[in-house]
Symmetry: C2
Subunit: 137 residues, 2 copies
Amino acid sequence: MKLSKTADYSLRILSFMAKKPDELHTAKELVDKLNISDKYLRRLMTKLSKSGFIKSVQGREGGYRFTKPTEQIFVSQIIDAVDGLDKYMGCILGFGACSDDNPCALHKKWALVRTDIMNLFKTTSIAEMAQKDVQKI
Amino acid sequence: MKLSKTADYSLRILSFMAKKPDELHTAKELVDKLNISDKYLRRLMTKLSKSGFIKSVQGREGGYRFTKPTEQIFVSQIIDAVDGLDKYMGCILGFGACSDDNPCALHKKWALVRTDIMNLFKTTSIAEMAQKDVQKI
DNA sequence: AACAAATACTACTTGCAAGTATTATTTAAT
DNA sequence: ATTAAATAATACTTGCAAGTAGTATTTGTT
Ligand code: SF4
Ligand code: SF4
């Protein structure tokens, strides 16, 4: 019941950036603050840039900055961009899709919980995330 | 938001066996019915035997059989035995444990959902699972 | 005793996410 | 122009879950 590390990293990175949403953030800064492997983070930043949440400024004095208000970026969109939401939406038993017609004993309750999770992702913005620290314990 | 394949297989196997809870079931039968890789299933059966849900009968005419009423075996116990429940209980962002003191924006809602999931696992018995098919789509 | 049919054990292989290393490109400052 | 500091791209390595192979052991049937 966890997100992939990639999705996890993405949320932590963007949440951190969202504390100062208009500033330019360098990869170095993010690596230092968030304890994420340097090279992996950089690759991820490129991916997030291509997904449109942030844009990169190349060259000296470069970095990354949001392309739109952080109130308009939702957790669900980020997870979808890096992992695909489908990865988290399927049957709890790893099947293709839940069938409401011939459900197992877990199906109905699981479907409810799953809906809750999705709503949680869809209604939580990065701006909201940024209000509280997301620090590695 | 999925269980590991190992946990998934375990649930499917025991659910299937629980349809005829007093019979002896061979690995061959389970492989044929459940489309699970032969060798992997056999290894898993040994593990489940050691966990005490079933016991093996070796030799010709051997197989596996429940050690106690399937009403007394719960999904949570099975997941715990093969994966460890902790694997599914932690922070959604992959941290060590959720801190109620300094929570991020997801924490509270996530903790609620997580409790729901755990209750689902803890209150669903294998007997209950067996009432409905758990078939690979 | 020999055989057949089942489980048990140990080691190897594969696939994928995560992590690492290297080199190329971009651009501000000098 | 040169340099320095940043991002971009590509390929390689590691770690772990899942899958596979082969051999050993157990036990009922003949
Ligand atoms: S009925 Fe059960 S096994 Fe089938 S898709 Fe739904 S949760 Fe999965
Ligand atoms: S507060 Fe958020 S990041 Fe921290 S443990 Fe809870 S869910 Fe995870």
